[in-house]
């Protein structure tokens, strides 16, 4: 439960500008979808929040505070793939989060402490519908089940912000629909801020309370990397909001040029 602020954020690699002039306030409890063409800096945007990347200029703030430039337990993530640990069972994967926090040296729990953590883990595993698969290894799970596990694993840390990097991109349409039905109640129940990058426009509109589109509004054909992506659309999708005026930001960008 927390707000994220982007204050005039630029990301550049040498001459290549990836993101430019990103100003954004993400209110606590928002389900934010990010869409945009490939190479528009969606993943970079996510990595900024994750702490994997630093802005070249500007600042990203969590609850008004800067955060360390490395991933931490207040920002959970579910990747498209490789989010779960293949050497741990379903239960072990979720349990790991508790073990890491409670036992700095051995990272293992014993006795009653372990029992309590196992109980909490089982509840989370039940919540994502993996109850009967507690003792299986991820390699025995389908893609959708692995993503469920990854979500349960992230929820164990009760992150302030949950980042989803194309979490359902590799799933078939039926499984994807199931995952949509799963994630929305979890988001409400845990009152998290969720930031989801997706290529699926329907998914982006269907799940989110707010949607931003990243694109490069200015293009120099001689130097395609000269200008970075900006927020070209910013739509409020909550039910009681005024009807979003499509394109009003793009109009202001064009006026500025």
């Amino acid at each position: 439960m927390s707000t994220l602020s982007f204050r005039n954020v630029w990301v550049e690699y040498g001459n290549q500008v990836v993101l430019e002039r990103i100003n954004l306030e993400i209110a606590s409890g928002t389900f934010l979808s990010i869409v945009g063409p490939s190479g528009a800096g969606k993943s970079t945007f996510l990595r900024l929040i994750l702490g994997q990347e630093r802005p070249s200029q500007g600042a990203v703030l969590l609850d008004g505070q800067p955060f360390p430039a490395e991933p931490g337990p207040d920002r959970g993530i579910v990747f498209q793939r490789y989010s779960v640990f293949p050497h741990l069972t379903v239960l072990g994967n979720v349990l790991l989060g508790y073990e890491l926090a409670a036992s700095p040296f051995t990272a293992r729990l014993f006795g009653t402490a372990r029992k309590a953590a196992v109980e909490k883990s089982r509840a989370l595993i039940e919540a994502v519908g993996l109850g009967p698969h507690c003792d299986k290894y991820p390699s025995a799970l389908s893609g959708g089940m692995q993503q469920r596990l990854a979500i349960a694993q992230a929820l164990a840390k009760q992150p302030r912000v949950l980042l989803l990097d194309e979490p359902f991109g590799a799933l078939d349409p039926g499984t994807r629909a199931q995952m949509h039905a799963l994630i929305k109640p979890l988001w409400r129940e845990h009152q998290m801020t969720i930031v989801m990058v997706t290529h699926d426009i329907k998914e982006a509109f269907g799940l989110a309370t707010r949607l931003i589109a990243l694109d490069r509004p200015r293009k120099d054909p001689q130097a395609p990397e000269r200008f970075g992506a900006r927020i070209t659309y910013d739509l409020d999708l909550t039910r009681d909001s005024p009807v979003p005026v499509l394109g009003f930001i793009r109009a202001s960008v064009q006026a500025a040029q």
């Binding site: 994997q52 991933p71 337990p73 040296f105 051995t106 025995a140």
Partner: protein, 273 residues
């Protein structure tokens, strides 16, 4: 008629096909041995199977007249102890260094090149140095195995760590893991199957170093015995010893496979990795 590449033998014929080359080699040996004996009753090059058998039996069941030891078992125990120590130390050092170099960019920058260079030193070339520094006792033989095996383990395991998906390391950090916790709970268990595979491949080189060291300076050991009886052209000792060493190596290989499957079932489930 299907293409040759699509003809798959069933279980029974697979076993038969596997045995066939062995039987063929045995047959060729028996015939060759009989022929040489027929030409020259004093021939030592291809002793008959019965002779090798009686010699092996004597080595295994009768105490040596001079030392009172059961030669085969004394040799085997001495060699296996050296081998186990060498491989064990190499495995521990390889795991620790490989993990550090693979996981920590600082350690990689500091030691990566050093290990790459060290691994190019032919271990046999430094054997004289080992004999000078560590003496002719057990230590120099164990150290030779360690020196021969460790660089390969370190390089392979560090590459294995680096080839792990970045996502996993980031995920672990978002679960609140420290570097140490990532190392022992995420990376270490995942490179253990690779260690098993490496050790399987290193059994051959380890025996090579062991037998070389024993051949040059030792008073007991499988390699020592072979090189000792070579002076008397005792093929009836050498051949059974070679077969015995091969059998031991083969059993170790099987044992490692078994340990790997038992200890790391996730690595073998459906051949995910």
């Amino acid at each position: 008629m299907p293409r040759a590449m699509n003809v798959v033998p069933n279980r029974g014929s697979r076993l038969l096909l596997a045995l066939l080359p062995f039987l063929l080699i045995a047959l060729i040996y028996v015939v060759g041995s009989a022929q040489r004996r027929a030409d020259n009753p004093e021939d030592k090059l291809l002793p008959p199977v019965a002779e090798m058998f009686s010699t092996s039996k004597r080595l295994a069941t009768e105490p040596d007249r001079r030392s009172g030891d059961y030669v085969l078992w004394a040799d085997t125990a001495a060699s296996l102890q050296r081998l186990a120590l060498g491989l064990g130390i190499a495995a521990v050092v390889g795991l620790a260094l490989g993990l550090a170099i693979g996981l920590l960019p600082l350690a990689g920058a500091g030691f990566g090149t050093l290990v790459a260079v060290l691994s190019m030193i032919p271990p046999m070339a430094v054997l004289p140095i080992l004999f000078i520094v560590f003496g002719l006792g057990e230590l120099s033989k164990v150290v030779l195995i360690v020196i021969g095996v460790t660089p390969t383990l370190v390089r392979d395991l560090s590459l294995e760590v680096q080839s792990m998906p970045r996502e996993q390391l980031i995920k672990a950090q978002t679960l609140g893991a420290s570097t140490w916790q990532v190392a022992i709970r995420v990376v270490l268990p995942q490179i253990m199957p690779r260690l098993i595979k490496c050790l399987r491949l290193m059994i051959g080189p380890a025996f090579l170093f062991l037998i070389s060291a024993e051949a040059i300076a030792s008073d007991v050991g499988l390699g020592y015995r072979i090189f000792l009886v070579r002076r008397y052209l005792s093929m009836d000792v050498i051949l059974p010893y070679v077969a015995w060493i091969t059998l031991l190596a083969f059993v170790f290989d099987l044992a490692l496979v078994w340990i790997g499957r038992r200890a790391f079932p996730w690595a073998y489930d459906g051949g995910a990795r």
